[in-house]
Subunit: 328 residues, 2 copies
DNA sequence: CACTTTTACACAAACGTTTGCGGAAACGTT
DNA sequence: AACGTTTCCGCAAACGTTTGTGTAAAAGTG
C-alpha cells in the first residue's frame, strides 16, 4: 500500500539512491547489469517516480496551463485537443482552468499558474477582461504566455486567432456572388475584438463591392434569450435576402427562427463562420467559412513551446488559415 | 526575476521560515502584528507558494485526473465543466489526459496518474478497452477511481452513467404515442455497453407495447462515411414512420439525409437521445430525451471526492436523471 | 512573590529526487 | 612496476515547504 520510492529500491538492492536515480534516467555512469537489476526491481515493485519531488528539485513542472473562459463553445473541444496533441509530443501535461468569464477569477488563476510553476500559459481571454496586469505578472515571472482564440492585441503577448476580418469578408462575398442584394449581419458581443473584426470584414467587403449604406445592416445579439425577437423584427422589416451569421452560437438560433418563419431556404440565404459541425447538420446545409479549433490550439501550443525552449522568443501574431465550404 | 520563496521572506523580515509558513497558513501560534507584516511582504514581493514543494512535503497533490477517450463528442465539454465545478469547490485542480481511444495509451496514462500522485481518477473508458488491470493498479495504490459516461460495469469501480435503457425506452414510447406504427432504431458502435443498453431499451419498449417483430428494425452505423447510404436504403425499403436515433453524432447525419429526401418532417417522425443542443438547432425541432453531460461529470466528481475523503468508500453505480423534451 | 500557563517565536528534521564531487577498483600504457 | 585513465558507484547537499519540539518572555494565578 505504501508508495515505493527510490530509497526503498536502494535498500532492496543494497545500492545508493544516486545509483538508482542514474540507472532509471539512463545515466552512463551505471553498468548495464546494475541498470537491468534496477529496472527489474522498479517493474516488480511497480515504482513510479514522484513528479512533485522531481520537479521540485529540478525547478520545472512539465505543466502547461490552459485557461478558458468557458466550455460551451462549439470549437473549444477541438482547441483543447490541438493543445493537448502539441504539448504531449514534447512530454508536457495540461492543467486546465476555467475562468467562467470572470476577470477576477482569471487573475486568481494566474496566481495558480505561478504556484503550480507552470512552464507556459495558454489563455483564451474572458469576455469581460480589460486589464492585462495579471497576464503581465506571469510574464515578468519569466513564464511565456500565448493568447488564443479570444485575445487582446498588444505588443506584449503572442496571439493565435483565426483571421476574423478575412473570414467575414469571405462569407459576405459568397452571399453577394450568390446574388444577394440586401444583407444583414448578425453579430455577438460587441466588446470582443473578434466581433469588431468580423463586423469590419463584413462592412469592408460590402463597401468594396459597391453596396450603399442602405443596402445592409448589422444587428447585435447579446442576449440569446431575447435574440430571436430582435432578429425576426429586423428581418421582417428589412426585406433582406442574405444574412451573415458570425458564429455557431448565433446560427444555432438564427436558423430555426428563419426556418420556422418559412424564410430559409426560400427567401433568404445564409452564410456563417463555423467549425463546420453545425452547418453540416442543418438542411439545406449552410455555406460557411471554416475555422479550425484544432489548428488554433495546436498553433498556439507550438508557439508557446518554442518560447519555452527559447527558440522563438519574439512576440508574434498568427492567424490560422480559413476556407470557404459550400454545400455539397 | 528569481522566484521568491518562504526563505527569502524570512530573511527579509528576520524571522524564521517556520513563522512565515505559519503566518501564511493562519496558524494561531503567530501574533496578529507579525502575521500582517508577513502578509504585506508576501504581497509586496508577490510571493506564490510552490505547490510542488508543498504537496511533495504533505504527500498529496490537490490533483484530480480526468481521462477521456476523445473530445469530439457533444456533451464532453459539459461533462468537463461539471467535473471542474465540483472539484474546484473543494480546492482541487484538474489535470487532463486524452487516451485517443487506445487501451495502451490509457495504461500509460494510469502510470502518469501515479507519478503525479493524483488524489483521484475519473475515467471515461476507451471504446477498445477490455482489460481493467491498469485501473485496478490505481486502486491498489489507494487512489479512488470513478468511471463516468463510458464505463465498464464490475464490482470494482463506482460508475456514473445516464440511464441508457430508460432513456431509449422513453424516446421510443414517445414515438409510439405520437402514432408511429413502424419503427427504426439507429444505433452506433455495438461493442459499447451504452449501445447495447439503448438497443435493449428500444426493443423492450416495443415488446411491452405489443409491437410484433416485423414492425421494427435496428440498424447499426459504425462508419459515419458510409452510414448515409445504409440508412437511406433501409428507410426507403422499410416504410418506417418513426426513427429512434441513439445519439447526437448519429442525428447529425440522419436529419439532413431525411430532410434532403423530403421524408422529415412530413413522412417520418424522429426521437433522439441528446444533450439538447442539436435538436434545438434543427427545424422542426426533434423531440429528445435529455441527458446532461454536466450532471454526469458533476455526480462522478462528487462521488470521487466522497471516496477521497473517506465519506463513502462503497462502490456505487449511479444513473443520472433523464427527461423528455418536446418541441415547443 | 513564586508558581504555572500561555504566547510567540526559533530550531531542525523530513518529504523524494537529482547531481557535483570524490574515490576505489579495474584497466591500459609505458 | 609504476603511472595515468576509465569505469562504476557512494556520499552528501540541495530544492521549498510543513510541522513536532524546544524555549524564552509575557501573562495569569494563588
Amino acid at each position: 500500500m505504501k508508495r515505493i520510492g527510490i530509497k526503498d529500491l536502494a535498500r532492496l538492492l543494497s545500492l545508493n539512491v544516486s545509483t538508482i536515480s542514474r540507472a532509471l534516467s539512463g545515466h552512463p555512469d551505471v553498468s548495464p547489469e546494475t541498470r537491468e537489476r534496477v529496472l527489474d526491481a522498479a517493474r516488480e515493485f511497480n515504482y513510479h517516480p514522484n513528479l512533485h519531488a522531481r520537479f521540485f528539485r529540478k525547478k520545472n513542472s512539465g505543466l502547461i496551463a490552459l485557461v478558458l473562459p468557458e466550455l460551451n463553445s462549439f470549437f473549444i473541444p477541438e482547441l483543447i485537443q490541438g493543445v493537448h496533441d502539441a504539448v504531449e509530443k514534447k512530454g508536457y501535461n495540461v492543467i486546465m482552468f476555467i475562468s467562467g468569464d470572470s476577470p477576477e477569477k482569471e487573475a486568481e488563476i494566474m496566481d495558480h499558474c505561478l504556484s503550480w510553476v507552470a512552464e507556459g500559459v495558454l489563455v483564451s481571454v474572458s469576455n469581460r477582461t480589460v486589464e492585462t496586469g495579471h497576464f503581465r505578472a506571469i510574464q515578468s515571472a519569466g513564464i511565456p504566455l500565448v493568447m488564443l482564440d479570444k485575445v487582446i492585441h498588444t505588443a506584449d503577448f503572442s496571439t493565435v486567432t483565426i483571421n476574423d476580418h478575412s473570414a467575414a469578408w469571405s462569407a459576405t462575398e459568397h452571399l453577394i456572388r450568390s446574388g444577394c442584394r440586401k444583407l444583414l449581419g448578425v453579430l455577438g458581443n460587441p466588446g470582443l475584438e473578434i466581433t469588431r473584426e468580423r463586423a469590419k470584414g463584413f462592412a469592408d467587403c460590402l463597401e468594396a463591392r459597391g453596396f450603399l449604406p442602405e443596402m445592409s445592416r448589422i444587428i447585435t445579439i447579446e442576449n440569446i434569450a431575447s435574440g430571436e425577437e430582435v432578429l425576426m423584427e429586423e428581418v421582417i422589416r428589412g426585406g433582406y435576402d442574405g444574412i451573415f451569421v458570425m458564429s455557431d452560437e448565433l446560427l444555432l438560433f438564427v436558423y430555426p427562427a428563419l426556418a420556422a418563419a418559412g424564410l430559409y431556404p426560400l427567401k433568404i440565404r445564409l452564410a456563417a463562420i463555423s467549425d463546420g459541425k453545425l452547418p453540416h447538420a442543418i438542411f439545406p446545409q449552410v455555406p460557411y467559412v471554416q475555422h479550425s479549433g484544432y489548428q488554433t490550439g495546436r498553433t498556439a501550443a507550438e508557439k508557446l513551446l518554442d518560447e519555452i525552449s527559447g527558440k522563438d522568443p519574439a512576440i508574434r501574431h498568427f492567424t490560422s488559415g480559413i476556407n470557404l465550404v459550400y454545400p455539397r
